[in-house]
Symmetry: C2
Subunit: 242 residues, 2 copies
């Protein structure tokens, strides 16, 4: 991480609270969770800052405390795709510490963010000494696997409209704040992000988002997208008509 | 698992050896690996036998010792897709024990198979008491995640021809036996399996496989597919011409 662009600080009380609320330390004794927080480095980054680079040796495991991170992967054929948006409370760059040791994608902040991270040595020691932390990691990676497998099946069997609906519903689940029945997706999304998450073209995604805005299913609030009727969107995702 | 169709037996020496060679017990002391083997149930199943059903409560974790297993998922829209073939030495049905507790797919033998399995209680106890086993599971699930993410990116960016080439290369990696420079995929594959793994139609997959057989890149040996030139297939996967 470029230190010129980040302000690094000792964990504040808010930060410790955010770290103790991570799925990573679910069911772990409070003193172990506090130890996990004490080992964290916290970087305060502007939007568009690189956190790690595809192909680099994995040296740290990360969590978003505030903000959002884009995970983008470039294939051997040169084509790039958004693999996932990481919302507050979620980890990223973790699996590479346990597999071949290279980050499989680029990670970049999508907005001003607070990013916690742990060195590989500390993270592996935590995993070795706390079976509950290891089990939490298996659960998180397993949940990620289930999500990606669902998306893969959708790609083979569903229309672009359904896949765009699924992509928005996943973002609502990750980061949705419900206000007066509407769900605001608290991650700044470009139309290109939605297209790539749904595995469709920018043209198709733009046309679909505009159509849904026109009928009032979606709205924009500042940079954020608001889903005004999540149930209707769920019916569309399942192949029903608007 | 239907006990009417399976012959269950105490682990033989061969079986113990096969279990001790699983990635699950990599780096684990021999006495712990032997304990893992002693806790296993082994089912000897014919081809086409169901191992578990999508939506059922996850009660056991499984590994293929001999044979192969198809993992098929049906979506909320009713469409079904082959998610993965499981080759000897690989585990399946494991993640559900750590996540919401329901199998996310159907598992069915693709040929006569020996399947080892562990009860949820035993498997969780092994994970709690051996951090190395937990770390091995994170590595396996993480590798699976990386594979599925690659396939997802391919779906968005690559031609059907490239995706079929990638699907065959993955199968070679999982279960390939190299003989005189050619790689035999030791899993019986229907053309429909290849189509679903590559996320394309049966028509497109059949036409592509036939074209590759015609030019001698692929051959059939009994029920199995033989890749006669893996390097050429790799070039096709990367977008080069045949």
């Amino acid at each position: 991480m470029g230190h010129g662009m980040s302000e690094q600080k000792a964990p504040s009380q808010n930060t410790v609270r955010a770290i103790c609320a991570l799925g990573l330390v679910k069911g772990v004794p409070p003193e172990v969770a506090a130890h996990v927080a004490s080992l964290a480095r916290v970087d305060v980054l502007p939007g568009g800052a690189g956190v790690f680079t595809q192909g680099a040796v994995a040296q740290r495991a990360y969590a978003v405390l505030v903000g959002a991170v884009r995970i983008r992967q470039i294939g051997s054929d040169g084509a790039q795709a958004l693999m996932r948006m990481i919302a507050p409370g979620e980890m990223f760059g973790t699996v590479a510490l346990f597999t071949e040791g290279y980050y499989p994608a680029d990670a970049e902040t999508a907005m001003p963010s607070h990013i916690a991270s742990w060195s590989k040595a500390d993270f592996m020691a935590l995993t070795m000494h706390s079976p509950q932390i290891a089990i939490n990691i298996i659960g998180m990676v397993g949940q990620r696997l289930a999500n990606v497998q669902n998306r893969l099946r959708e790609m083979a069997t569903q229309s672009a409209e359904q896949r765009i609906a699924h992509a928005l519903l996943m973002l609502v689940e990750q980061s949705g704040a419900v206000q007066a029945g509407a769900c605001e997706i608290c991650i700044p999304l470009r139309r290109r992000d939605v297209a790539e998450l749904a595995g469709t073209t920018l043209y198709t995604a733009s046309r679909q988002l505009a159509a849904w805005e026109k009928v009032g299913l979606l709205a924009r609030s500042r940079q954020m997208l608001v889903v005004r009727d999540a149930n209707k969107l769920r019916r569309i995702a399942q192949g029903g008509l608007l």
